[in-house]
Amino acid sequence: MSNKLSGIYSALDSGNNKQSLKLCNALLTKKKDENTNIVKVLKAITLIKLGENEEAIKCADEVAFIGHYNETLLSNLNYFYKSVQQGYKMTKVYEASVKAYPKNENLAEGLFLAYAKVRDYKQQQQVILDLQKNFPSHQHSLWYLMTILSMVHDNPSNQLFIGLSQKLAEKLVEEGKIKTSEHLYMYETVLDIQGKTSEHLNLIKGKLGELYNVATERLKILGDLNQKLGNHQEAANNYSEILTKYEPDEWSCYMGYFDNIWSLNDISKIDDAKQFIQNIQSQQTSKHLLRGPLLAEIEIYYRLLTTTTTANGNPAANIDGPVFNKFIELILNYFTKFGTKPVLYSDLKKYLQFIETKKSIEQRKEIMDRIYKLVSLDKDEANHISQLSNYHKLSRVLGLQLEMSIEESIKIIKEILEEYQYNTKKFPLAIESERYPGDDLILICHFLLMDQYEKTKQVSLLLESAAILEFAHSISTKNYQFNLYLLSLYFELGAHQLASNHFKILNIKNIQYDTLGHLVADQFIREPTCFSNAINAFEKSAKFYNENESTADYVAACYQNGCYSKITEIQKFQVKVANSFQKSVYETERQLFNFMLIRFKKLPNANFTASQFVEICKSQISSTDPINFDCSNEVLNALSFNHDNTIFDKFNPTTTSNSDSIKQVENQIQGITSLYFENTEKSTLLLQLTYRRQILNILYLISTQSPIDLNQFNQLLISLESTTTKLNSINSHKIDNLTRISTLNNFKLLNLILNLLKEFNEEKLKQVKELLELINNEITEIVKVLSDNIRESVVLGNSLNSLSRSSRMVVSSFIEPITWFSFIALLVNSALPGKRAKKKEEYHTTIRTDLETLVKKLSDDSLNLSNIINEKSLSKLSLTEDDNNKSTILETLNTQSIAKNVSENSIKSVTELQEYLNSMKTLLTFSINNTNNTTNA
């Protein structure tokens, strides 16, 4: 590499983009040489880093399509086009290059891979045929088969390609070109697609099957194929061979074995299975005791109790008979052996849930009494706390904790905490990175308190729980379950910063923004104290979704590395990320958020005119990445829900309805305040996304078009109205319904006034007047509901409603829509002739006056709301004086100080909310007063 180029690279590496641009420009003014093209590409890369996307693309496009063979240049171009989401242009780059250098094999392969990345199968096929002709090789034959297979995957009913893939695969076999299991995978797929299972079986049994040279892999495939063909005895033999010879602890093989034995419908075979499991057990040494063989025996009895082996359709064994007794014996024995391991719960969960649905509460209690006898009662014994922890987890999953009285719960919590404190002193955590063995007991305390909170709605229970979790977190500092539950609790208590602190400890990164972002998205976007977190989350998630642009490169890598089994898998994954629901939510909310926040951010130094202000808002919208605000069914139905809802450890029974109260409370209040919830119907979530996008489309239209296309505006209003009606019929919350209707009417008002100004008639004027009055009434009603809600929500007192929800409502039902309204008022005001204009009509004055009255009212409403919140925070936020806040559980617990923290923190949140409400007055006043220098919109 020349010195000149290395200067540019090092400037880019160190982030000195201006220097890089300077160097590029200096080189480009000189005479053209062999480096000129590459410098241009580097300049394009520099320009995107400087935010000059348009110029960057122009710069790269100038040299991209003239044909190149320099690999550095090509890979820089690939990097560049990926960064601007135009990776598809690489096919054009390679088309030109292959044309210019037809003898270059690398370029021809590059072209093939470029088409493979964008999944243009037809072109891919054309290029691979050329490749095979011009540069025949073993690899290219394999690529040809994979290309045809991709086309079959894309269109499974295409018999022509299916037939072709079969022929190609057979030819490869004949020519001895199937040399690895990755090659064989393609042949297997060809057979599977055609349902040729017995051919597949023969293939794996034969010589080629030896390509799977890890014995267990081949046996698992054989087991699976035999099972599909109904060769259950053979399949069972395949799995039992793995268990006896290689993997006595592999659960999938136990299950595979049992599934096939049971399919034989022969009771004597089940006796054989019992014997088989006992043989495996007898070969175990007590030093390395495996769980598999013991759990497998429990599974046999579970199957006898739940599945049929006889023609009459009844389970093989009676739930009250000896088989059940044996089943319990085995579970008790399992506890004896593995009662000290946290994994015991997940091993036994299925069986306990079964017992929970089949046995009375007394019977279940009796089982737990027997388990309790197995718990070491010697507190000075290291295993004691682990066994106790499992005992309580099993008790919970058996449904024995749900009906407890507050006294019973508190008694257990006290016992648990005393044990935990004693034990953590006696056996301090040896390694900081590990969990303390009794940590799950703390979660049990939390669940017990939440069960009670569900019944009484006493906020002090939430505080007690936070105190317990904080205490345990100070001992077992790396247990993220504590962070997760504290995060939920603090949000519920309106202590948003405390919640955010626990979120930060989780340190989520990259793909976790897609899978876990929903944990905080609502609060971040709706709570003024969290707004900076929201911006951070938008940026981090956008970075991750951009990374997905590179995913297709790994499809190419699979071809190059000969890893054919991963090609379709990576492609599907790429689509799931690109079509992520969470991604759509982030992108939509990011724009709406900008729309709201820009007004507050820019106004305090509002020395500019209305038209300048409109320009600022417009520039903000257009400077953010252009996104597709598409709401078509095609787009919505393709969305993928990648959320991970499994990270909270829970030990709940299946039949419970009143556990996990926080999530339940959240579900009760879902609506426009919430963007994603675990148990919400997908169709509702999609409708909600549609609603938000339709609003965005309207805001986008009215702020970027001048003059506004009223027909298009009208079309958007019709769509919004339809979604509003649908959402209102699903969600019956008054405040949500009102907000949606009033928002719709606000936009209708703008549309109507603009129509009126275009062509006056009395009827339209009358409609404007009516609409203004309607909006007036709706907002009065919204403010009333909000005020009542704030007043009733005895903040951190005795009510279900805590301020966290009220503040969220204030943002979603007042601050956000009124901010949009301020923009509408500004546009209307700009559209009307100025106050001192000579050419104006009487109705202009009337509308202006009415609008001013409405704006004045909104201003007053903001202040009123702010005052109500203020009274609230002055009167009720003082927690420490409240008798309820003395810990009823343990005096050593620091509930008082937690309460104080929560209180201070929620006051902070409230103060920030008030600031937004107070500045609405400035915003609204600005929207109707600043007309002197405006130009008509």
């Binding site: 890890v214 390395h288 993220y480 976790q512 590179s550």
Partner: protein, 173 residues
């Protein structure tokens, strides 16, 4: 109980209970895809009976000549599934793949010199210290390069310890 299978792309959506643990890094997407698209048989995922992820192994095959070997890049087990021999099983699968699929001479791994728990565990699995790599972890801490010979290395030459520590730049990593 445990089922071990090959790691698939969609596991990236589900592995949070393992990765939320503060010692386990969540890398950026291309990191995982690079491994999946090159050494698909050296990445494994362990699931419990309910399908919940328990732990995973990310490995690769690399090196020239007699240095051709399997390498443990990351092995991680969720907190609640520790001390049940899961890492052992995941290591075994990597070793088997390194031997049978890649025909390597040995398997190696890097571990923080201070991480005695892990060092003891690997010793129990048959690994021995081959060399110390000075300042391998961002210059802050030395790494121990631990190795276990595979059958192809008949004379077990690959695991004869080096007498002197090496710097990362000198180490043929």
């Amino acid at each position: 109980m445990t089922t071990i299978r090959r790691f698939v792309c969609d596991d990236l959506f589900k592995f949070n209970n393992i990765n939320l643990d503060y010692l386990t890094e969540t890398y950026y997407l291309p990191f995982y895809l690079q491994y999946l698209s090159k050494w698909p048989s050296l990445l494994s995922m362990a699931e419990d009976v309910n399908g919940k992820p328990m732990g995973y192994m990310i490995g690769k095959a690399e090196g020239e000549g007699i240095n051709w070997h399997g390498h443990v890049t990351a092995v991680s087990v969720a907190p609640e599934f520790r001390r049940i021999g899961l890492a052992d099983r995941l290591m075994h699968i990597l070793e088997e793949g390194s031997e049978k699929i890649y025909d390597g001479y040995f398997v190696d791994l890097f571990v923080r010199k201070s991480n005695t728990l892990a060092i003891n565990m690997y010793t129990k699995f048959g690994y021995s210290v081959y060399r110390t790599v000075i300042g391998y972890y961002s210059g802050d801490e030395d790494a121990l390069d631990m190795r276990k010979a595979l059958p192809r290395d008949v004379e077990k030459k690959s695991i004869i310890p080096l007498k002197h520590p090496v710097y990362p730049t000198d180490a043929d990593l």
